[in-house]
Symmetry: C2
Subunit: 312 residues, 2 copies
């Protein structure tokens, strides 16, 4: 067993002896693939990802060492398969070994489902689930009370009603303003999500929008017309926060079924105080999420509910 | 000159003699890069794109021929640079040569700007521009009159008020339902965009939503909870149409600053007939677009307009 352990700790020099069981995830846009297999009799997960080009290495890509195989030629347009020098064309590989069933499940593509959450479904399905789970946001309180991450704070308004803390998202390296990603976390407790926003929260929303933008302009010199400010629904945690990203960043959570522009939220509430209480909100849930399972129990994905559409 | 022409037509076997002038575009998410350079004294544009992995070739990737260089090792997690067999790791290259200034401009990354189009800005900036340009949608009428693409029609409702033609988008190969992308084009003329939608258009909107979803279920067996139905603002052409995509497809135009879910549009109009006349609509424009230039003339990107936010 000890020897086995040593073996597992060894660094690999190639994939000799790797047994492929199944491709468990694939993304042709980001050019990634994940495989479940076996190595030395134990489960392994291998993630492969094509690397982005490095602009500083263009002079190594476009040389006589890169051979070209023509696949199409039409007038001034030529399409080729290019074979770069191998040292310039590494692929990122992550090997998890030995992998548990949890690892395999975590990296397996999950089916996703569109949920149209009406006012009634929120009150009878989503809200009771949130309340029963009593999700802890203690880590958020730790930030607000400066027990954690105090050195990362970019800006703070300490007002308990309309104040917030602005700090960089984990996904941002805090260097390149083109990839700017900040999060404003409200000091006020108890605003779970978009569903809890109404006219009484307008001062908070406007304060985050205006002061957030000003702080970003002052600190990073990114003007408001280069920024998106938005709220996720469903959020990843149920304490009110706003995302600020540079529009150059193709932020993964900026899809129309998840991101709600803060300016739109403010205007909708100004038009109608109860807008986010009444509005059907559409989002996508994955098949293993509790929320999906609750909606499924509720018959939202039955054939009959497809028929409902026909009768409409 | 004739010889020069022959030379240009020749297929390349490598990039020998290529002179790099500038990296004109870069995308680290899609792993593409575009270079402006010179070949044989003339301008050239080279686009490089990493290819997605081919799941059928996994058994050629994960072999002893793929050498690994360890970059990080922590418990069961190992991170490597993997050097795949060169034949399994081709890069797609497109060479445009000789390239004109227009090609260079077309492939150069453009700055993008957030525009918050109020009701007033629509009436005084956008609408007059659209009217002055008199953009032709004759090609759309050709489809509706079945002079073009009649063989591609998936479904049709011929009603002149609420009818539409459903057909595959150019981006879809019409094979893989996971990449499903269809467009419903309204028979009715004169609905330029989201701005023209109000209660009088609800029968059209609901008909497209319900019949579109039913037709997709019947023909491709994709249920409504696997579909997004949405409208672009700004649209790419000013004749009313709706996009239907499989949620598995990470459709490029599904960003929260461009896509408006058809269900949201219907509900907003039901709440308030003039919603899309009154609402500020946010979209992103590129620096060479006429619409951007008009908004710029209008002072929307001046330092003072940034100051306005502070005063709010």
């Amino acid at each position: 067993d000890c020897n086995q352990g040593d073996d597992n700790d060894a660094m690999l020099s190639n994939f000799d002896g790797f047994e492929i069981l199944k491709v468990i995830s694939e993304n042709t846009r980001s050019k990634t693939v994940t495989v479940h297999g076996k190595m030395k009799g134990e489960n392994a997960v291998v993630l492969l990802e094509k690397k982005p080009f490095d602009a500083k290495h263009m002079n190594r890509y476009l040389t006589e060492e890169t051979s070209l195989k023509n696949t199409l030629k039409n007038d001034i347009y030529g399409t080729y398969e290019a074979f770069l020098p191998s040292t310039e064309n590494a692929v990122k590989a992550v090997v998890i070994h030995p992998a548990t069933d949890k690892h395999i499940q975590k990296y397996t593509d999950q089916e996703r489902f569109v949920i149209e959450e009406t006012e009634n479904l929120y009150k009878t399905v989503t809200l009771p689930l949130l309340e029963s789970k009593q999700l802890s946001v203690q880590w958020v309180y730790n930030i607000l009370e400066k027990k954690q991450e105090a050195d990362r704070i970019v800006y703070e308004d300490t007002d308990p009603e309309i104040g917030f803390i602005l700090l960089p998202d984990m996904k941002w390296d805090r260097k390149d303003p083109a990839a700017l990603y900040l999060v404003a976390i409200a000091h006020k407790h108890g605003i779970k999500s978009l569903r809890d926003l109404n006219a009484s929260k307008l001062p908070l929303l406007k304060n985050i929008l205006n002061q957030g933008k000003n702080a970003i302009m002052k600190k990073y010199n990114v003007p408001s017309w280069k920024l998106h400010a938005y709220i996720h629904y469903q959020p990843s945690y149920y304490h009110f926060h706003v995302h600020f990203t540079n529009i150059k960043l193709e932020a993964p959570g900026f899809d129309a079924d998840r991101a709600h522009l803060l300016t739109d939220v403010i205007e909708n509430i100004e038009m109608m105080d109860t807008y986010y209480e009444k509005k059907t909100l559409t989002f996508v849930a994955r098949e293993t999420e509790d929320l999906f399972l609750k909606f499924k129990e509720n018959g939202c994905f039955d054939e009959t509910s497809q028929d409902e559409i026909k009768k409409d």
